[in-house]
């Protein structure tokens, strides 16, 4: 199957996904279950990585500013901008693509190879709507909160690194993170997050839903889905940046 066929099949899948749920109570339960699986269970990894990457960005910036004419508050400013513009929305989404993407593909793929999806279809359940729509809703609504948490912890990590290493003054860092605050940049990061969340929920679902074969193929599909999700996020990031910031 060539790429164009895959793209066509992906959009046809979305056509089935975006139909009214057959039972709203069941759908609501599924959304809460997915928020737990895709969102709450990712809080730990996002918090951990954001904190340390924020620290590393602050240290690297401090180490590379040796010119006394450059104000030290630039460390806080650069850390804040890097985290808000790219690290939190893009880097965290790539991490989530790895963690959540493989989970989505393997869980839906296992259902496919063990005939659970056939069982849903035979019962008269729209399996794509039942399995994929709650994942999309959970990701699109919960990931912005996760990314905001990543932003706070990244900036906090930079502050902690400065305090612990004595490489810059706390006052300079705090001045830097307050300097030239633009709320649009937060909005820009959240727009990117919502689009990346949609990609993270749907591309792995596509790979899992249409898997053929056994457990080996499910494993291969999981790897492939993570690769494609990351590729699509990186390409989307480029176009979104060009559209929203230039």
């Amino acid at each position: 199957m060539n790429y164009i066929e895959h793209v066509g099949k992906y959009f046809m899948m979305l056509g089935q996904v975006f139909k009214a749920p057959q039972k709203y109570r069941v759908f609501q339960d599924a959304v809460f279950r997915e928020i737990e699986q895709l969102g709450i269970k990712s809080v730990g990894i996002i918090s951990f990585i954001s904190f340390f990457i924020g620290g590393v960005i602050a240290l690297q910036t401090a180490l590379n500013i040796s010119d006394p004419l450059i104000p030290k508050m630039l460390i806080g400013f650069a850390t804040k901008r890097s985290i808000i513009l790219e690290f939190a929305p893009t880097f965290c989404s790539i991490i989530l693509a790895g963690k959540v993407g493989s989970y989505i593909t393997s869980s839906i793929g296992s259902m496919r190879v063990t005939e659970q999806i056939d069982a849903l279809e035979i019962m008269g359940v729209n399996s794509l709507n039942y399995l994929v729509l709650p994942k999309i809703i959970a990701a699109v609504f919960f990931y912005p909160f996760l990314i905001i948490l990543g932003m706070f912890l990244g900036i906090f990590g930079g502050w902690a690194a400065g305090i612990l290493s004595n490489m810059f003054y706390e006052a300079d860092y705090l001045e830097g993170i307050q300097f030239d605050f633009q709320s649009f940049l937060i909005f820009y990061a959240l727009i990117k997050t919502v689009i990346f969340a949609f990609i993270i929920a749907t591309v792995p679902s596509y790979h899992g839903y249409y898997v053929k074969g056994g457990s080996l193929e499910v494993g291969k599909a999981s790897t492939q889905s993570v690769v494609w999700t990351i590729v699509i996020i990186v390409i989307a990031n480029y176009f979104l940046t060009q559209m929203l910031l230039t």
Partner: protein
């Protein structure tokens, strides 16, 4: 009653079903047998409405599949139960939730009403006190019984089973066979089983349809299969020495 009228089905250049006609009656257990590649699975999927035949038709109590609207098909699917080869239970749900699933999706019953129905059905398949267990904690035979319970929870008119005995030991296979036959008789449903198990053929086949190369090569009851001189059936059913001796003993007794 299900009436199959000269159905044909191809995949690309390969003709899988080449004109099969037969019928299945309520309260009777019908078995589809045949070698691998004979077209049994495609035939069963056609009966389930998952494949639409290119020629011919299937009518369910007078309702012809090719003339059904999307709404009719949705309603029809609520009237059928299916037991899959690997049980196809939902891993993330426990026994109670698995059996309750069709009720949750398609009825407006309250939770106590649904639980009452679930417990009745689980009692019917001898699976009391397993409500909170997950599929991974059950044996193969217990999983099959949960699958049967889920298939009959909506009081279906039609029950389809794809190799319900595969992977089970002989005594559990007999239990599952008997359970399916009792349920068929009790609820007067139309049961169609796709099987390779010759014990099932001998024990519960009110009607047996033998497929070969996409065609119906023979049909009859489990009694008639002992007496048939159809060479294709004899070669397939009595390929093992044990069944040859069983047949000889049956014929000598007569």
């Amino acid at each position: 009653m299900i009436e199959v009228n000269d159905i044909h089905k191809s995949f690309g250049e390969t003709k899988v079903l080449k004109g099969i006609s037969t019928s299945f009656e309520p309260g009777k257990t019908s078995l589809i047998i045949g070698q691998s590649g004979a077209g049994k699975t495609v035939f069963l999927k056609s009966l389930l409405g998952l494949h639409l035949p290119e020629e011919g038709s299937i009518s369910y109590n007078g309702q012809i599949n090719t003339e059904m609207s999307i709404e009719d098909k949705r309603e029809f699917r609520k009237e059928l139960g299916m037991v899959f080869q690997g049980s196809a239970l939902f891993d993330s749900l426990n026994v109670e939730e698995n059996v309750m699933f069709p009720l949750t999706m398609f009825t407006k019953q309250t939770r106590p009403e649904m639980l009452e129905r679930v417990n009745t059905v689980l009692k019917r398949v001898d699976l009391e006190n397993s409500n909170k267990k997950f599929p991974a904690e059950l044996s193969g035979g217990m999983q099959k019984r949960v699958a049967i319970a889920r298939a009959i929870i909506m009081n279906p008119k039609y029950l389809f089973c794809d190799e319900p005995n595969s992977g089970l030991d002989p005594s559990t296979s007999i239990l599952i066979d008997n359970l399916i036959q009792e349920i068929t008789d009790e609820y007067k449903i139309i049961t169609v089983i796709n099987t390779h198990d010759m014990n099932s053929v001998m024990e519960i086949g009110d009607k047996i349809v033998f497929l070969k190369n996409g065609l119906k090569a023979w049909e009859g009851s489990s009694k008639e299969i002992f007496k048939t001189d159809n060479q294709a059936v004899v070669d397939f059913v009595y390929s093992s020495n044990l069944f040859k001796k069983v047949r000889e003993a049956y014929l000598n007794e007569k």
